[in-house]
Symmetry: C2
Subunit: 338 residues, 2 copies
Amino acid sequence: MVLAKKYVVVTPFVGEPKKSDFDIVQEHLPALKDGEFLAEAAYLSVDPYQRMKIGNAFPCDMIGGQVARITESKNKDYPAGSWIMGHLGWRTHTIVNPEEDAKRCAQKPFLYRLPDFGDLPVSLGLGVCGRVGNSAYFGFTQICQPKPGETVVVSGAAGAVGSHVGQIAKILGCKVIGFAGTDDKCEWLVKELGFNYAGNYKTVDIAQFLKESAPEGVDCYFDNVGGELSSVVISQMNQYGRIAVCGAISSYNETIAEKRRATMLQPFIVGKQLKIEGFQVNRFAERTQEGVIQNLQWVKEGKLKYKEHIFDGFESAADAFIGLFRGVNTGKTLVKVN
Amino acid sequence: MVLAKKYVVVTPFVGEPKKSDFDIVQEHLPALKDGEFLAEAAYLSVDPYQRMKIGNAFPCDMIGGQVARITESKNKDYPAGSWIMGHLGWRTHTIVNPEEDAKRCAQKPFLYRLPDFGDLPVSLGLGVCGRVGNSAYFGFTQICQPKPGETVVVSGAAGAVGSHVGQIAKILGCKVIGFAGTDDKCEWLVKELGFNYAGNYKTVDIAQFLKESAPEGVDCYFDNVGGELSSVVISQMNQYGRIAVCGAISSYNETIAEKRRATMLQPFIVGKQLKIEGFQVNRFAERTQEGVIQNLQWVKEGKLKYKEHIFDGFESAADAFIGLFRGVNTGKTLVKVN
């Protein structure tokens, strides 16, 4: 009999998530039935969207993707020994019935077998070659519709999605400007990832920084942050500029109404005929493998670099989640279970 | 020799436009050359966009469309006696060389001959069957992509564009909710134009009003106003909602930075995967006649009602313009020249 551990969210998040919002619960798993398999988590995914999608009834199991190895199986499509990405929540061991469980999962695709990562770590299946990578790949290419030679701005540029978007923009022949929250992150973006410019939004005059780094104006903006930073970027966009809104992390923990206000966007939207579109990667679920394979190829070719911020041990997941909103993590945040 | 009068903007608009920003200048027009015609204005168009598009060098001629009759012509495509819509500015008489003058005009189309309006007044060529009508027709159908049965919200709903959009939405089988600035306007929208609901944004709790009038959520929002009203509407939109931004009149005269702030939109944009797009009717210039003819047909069928707020006499144009921003005009604002 297998003893599983799982995270339960015991109270709604108010403002910044706290360790006391979480509890770790143990449960014994029953024997497998036909069609089921047992998955043993290797890495848990820690993402901003979990803050918003947790649901309204508490206590509830923490949601999230994981990369897991199948250790036992009564389902021929998922043999023992194979690796999967699945939205199984933050738990160590899970009995999965793929078809039944998919019906109860809001995230799509619920589950798939990982392609062969070769010498690369399976943790990439949650990051650059997983949901995060697909957010960057589809969100940027499909919503921003970038053209070679255009100028692209990315907010939250040192985050998992932002750093990925900036590199795709370079691969596609664009000029790229990133905003991040520390000088170290900015240096990494320019020196390691090839961003043309990167500004620390906490210390630079954003309008002035953009006027100097992009006097030609901004064509595409990939926004992970929202707030006044975004209003300033959007005020400097060119005619028919395109904005993909992937997240609004500046607002997620903000409970004071006044601090949720920013310079209104409508004058810029109409003045320059801008198009702003929000997206969630679920929308591109049917094209998941296309994105995973493309990103994997770019990684193998050395065109796409990534950083993983790996917290060690199942018990560190709450800290990892809190760090996400404090801006202390760089790259894709993960928890290594063992 | 013809004596023409024209409006000159002598100083940049700061805050609300003032009468003293304008001057009326007289000039003698020369004899016609080959390819030219003389246009005598019947109606001048008074529109919010003029506030934003006036240019940066002062003094300058006031911009704007007019419906005019050709009284003399040396251009066979524009014979004497025919009626035109042209972006000739606020002036009584104009010598026009269609091809040359079009190159200097930012508004498209610069000029066209009016279709036969039958018994209807030619002033419609500036309103419901002109640029304003085409803003409503193309902006709503192309940007909002409404489907029968969907719920549509319109801000600035008693304005020329807003009242037109709401009626198209009804023609297309949508449920329509309008926001306007007086109870009289709201009553007109519901009783005369067939809006399902209309709320006075100055006196109602907008969030509560929408929860009661549209518990099913909002699918399309046609925004003429911007600001906090729009943030509230956008917070109650459904998945994949579409927003057309036609104007942002709440911001045009606002010089205090703090009052240009509103609740940030990004959390709603990403949470519901909304699409927001700004447009100017110029974008649809090549389809101008399609829009004019469709709107004219709806007017003739009695499906499309309109109001004209006609100021009498060339000298009243500055008052007409100021009234536009004070919200005292209902329907399309025009100046009858004679």
